[in-house]
Each structure stands twice: as structure tokens, then as C-alpha cells.
Symmetry: C2
Subunit: 218 residues, 2 copies
């Protein structure tokens, strides 16, 4: 399928494309492939109070800010969604996302069910949201993927499984569900969802004028 | 993309896939390609009171019935949608469509806005409906396609243009809009819509049990 999906005849408002999954379901690989293949999709960059890690770049991986700064942004309503994980704050700034959507660029969000709920109930952005939940093909596969990520004590793995279970319990809040038992197929499926959602009547700006023109009506 | 889209883990209810367009927009070619490429899609066969034409097959092109039979079926509520065109009746029998959907097979409908409205407001089938409207890229292109179909008097072409204009005025009633300026691209787009709609959470039967299993909950 062609990359620039918007018809040349009229514009299109971008969409918020959320991928959620328990860790170990393959979401990171799928996101990376999607960003590589699709020229009209950009990753949303979060703001965080977590310290920068080796290899991370300010503005590309995260916008790193201090507690006071984050709090001020929260009070100003500058975040589309925000959450606290292991004592650190993470949030998605509203302004760059709104600018991208207006320019017809789609924005990929790698967030959990809590962030997705905040987006879905956002008065301004709710209509732009397309949400996909990625499931592992089996408990065995999930366990083995969680185990192979690091040689952690059994207790840590059990904790991760509990977290995965909690995340998965929210699957009905998503519009699309993909079972990831083949990574290439899953990338194709996520791409098909993105392509289809771009063709929604409600997202195509200027359609009315275009059809009036076709009908010879001024 | 693979043909058998339903995950092997659980079933899926089929969907009603409606393609509408003014004549001359390329819908027939797109439908034919889609049916050729997609193994899980079948064409809905209409019932009609129109006489059989040379080359047509009973049960494949249409179910041919007489007026009294058609009227009885209408009274019995046997039609999902029906209309009268140039003095002949056309209708889609409900029973074979319901059987296909229950078996997880998708059914392609080549109908106009009047039929689509009847499907959309059908209490039982409305939720199964996915509708796509195909637009020509320009008035000039539409005119030339209508002209090239037969060497008809100018008046007949004008009449067809008026009919096309009336049909196009209903585009906002459709979920997806495609501008057909490249037949291969349009087939890809229609296929992406079909693939995506198959992945909707609400269409996947048994998801709840599958996720309960993943979570280790009985």
C-alpha cells in the first residue's frame, strides 16, 4: 500500500494511534516496524521526571524535566495523559500532538490502559483516537518472553505476569484486538487498521466541497 | 495479508460489506478483484422479478421469481433490503446472509444508498454493516467513463450524470470514502478496510474466554 494515504484531492486530519499490550506481547517490535514502514506516522515523545539513561537523547526518547516543571505542566493542563510509574511521572504534552494532527500527520502512542482511558475521554482528542490491543498467543509464550528478557528471580517474573494480567483485563476498552503469534502478520494487520482508519469519511477534510464539485453544484 | 484473517484461537462473526458508488466509478471492477483475492468473502445473491438475461445463471447472478412470489417474501419480512428499479423488484434475502455471518463468512453487497439505508437501520444486522462509498476522481473522468460504456445519445448520458449526482449526495451516510483514481490502489484500500474491520474487538467471538485463559482465570 502506498505511504501517503491521503488522497491528493483534499486534506485529512491526523489520528492518534494507540498500541497497548502487556509487556512481552511484542508491541515494541511492532511499533518500530510500523514507524520504519509508514512515512506519515511519528512517535509521540513523552515528558518525564525519570533521570536520563545512558544512550537516551533529550527530545527524541523523552523530554526530561524536574518535578516542579512537571507539576506546573500538569496544573496548566499541558498533558493529554499522564501517569506515575515507580515514583516517576510520565506525560504526553498536548501541543505537539495537536500540531501534528492538524498537519495531517498520525501520531503513535505506546501507552497503557490508563493513558488510553485518559485519551478516550479527552473532549478535544477523543474523536481522533484509534486504539489497538495486542495479545500474546498463549500464557506459555507470554511467560517465556517475560523470562527471556532477563534472568530475573521467579518472584519478579510472577510480578510481571500479574501486571500483564491486570493490563489484559482492559482489552474490551480497545477498538481493535490483535493476537501476535507472527510478527510480520501482526505488522500487516496493524498497518491495515491504520490505512483503513485514514479512509474514514469523518477524517477526510474537504470531502463535501470535493463532492459538490463532482456533482457540478456550486 | 493472509486470507484467513480470523485468528485460530477463537471465532468471528462475519460482516456485511457494502460497496456503493455512482455507475462509472469503478465499483464493479473493484468488487470482482476483491472476490478473487479474498477467500473469506462471498457475493450476496439478490432475488429479482426482472427476466433472466442471456448468460445469466439462476442462483448465481440472481434468484429469479415472479411478482407474486416477491410480494409474499416482502410480506414475510424475508428481505434485508429491497427496491424497485425501472419497474422490476430487487431484494436481498435475509436467511442466507444470516447463515453466512454466523459461519464467520463476510458478504459483499453491491447496492445503492437506498439499500444501504435499509441495512443500516436493520435492528438485527445494523451492527454487522461496514459501508464504503467509491467516488470518481473528477467529473471529467466520470463523464468519460459513462460515455465509454455505450455510445448513447447525449440525453441518456445527462440522465446518468443526474443519477450519479443523486447517488453521490449520500456519501456522508457511509463510514469509509475512497476516491478511485487508481484501480490497484483502490483494491488495496478496500482490502485494508475489510482486514481492519475483521479485527474489531466487537466482531471477535470468544475473546473474553481467550483472555481469561491467558490471565490464568477460570
Amino acid at each position: 500500500m502506498n505511504k501517503q494515504n491521503a488522497a491528493p484531492y483534499f486534506g485529512r486530519r491526523g489520528l492518534i494511534f494507540v498500541l497497548s499490550s502487556p509487556s512481552g506481547a511484542g508491541k515494541t517490535t511492532i511499533s518500530r516496524e510500523l514507524l520504519r514502514l509508514d512515512e506519515n506516522l511519528v512517535m509521540s515523545v513523552s515528558t518525564t521526571t525519570r533521570p536520563m539513561r545512558a544512550g537516551e537523547t533529550e527530545g527524541a526518547d523523552y523530554n526530561f524535566v524536574d518535578e516542579a516543571h512537571f507539576e506546573r505542566m500538569t496544573e496548566d493542563g499541558a498533558f493529554l495523559e499522564h501517569a506515575q510509574v515507580f515514583g516517576y511521572h510520565y506525560g504526553t504534552p498536548r501541543a505537539p500532538v495537536e500540531a501534528a494532527l492538524q498537519a495531517g500527520t498520525d501520531v503513535l502512542f505506546d501507552i497503557d490502559w490508563q493513558g488510553t482511558q485518559q485519551l478516550a475521554t479527552d473532549e478535544k482528542m477523543g474523536a481522533d483516537l484509534v486504539s489497538v490491543f495486542i495479545l500474546p498467543p498463549s500464557t506459555k509464550e507470554l511467560e517465556s518472553r517475560l523470562n527471556s528478557r532477563a534472568r530475573d528471580p521467579e518472584e519478579v517474573v510472577r510480578e510481571r505476569m500479574a501486571k500483564a494480567s491486570g493490563e489484559m483485563s482492559h482489552f474490551p476498552e480497545y477498538t481493535y484486538i490483535i493476537v501476535n503469534d507472527d510478527i510480520d502478520q501482526s505488522v500487516d494487520r496493524v498497518q491495515a487498521i491504520l490505512d483503513a482508519e485514514r479512509l474514514r469519511m469523518s477524517r477526510q477534510v474537504g470531502l463535501h466541497e470535493f463532492v459538490q464539485g463532482l456533482r457540478g453544484v456550486d
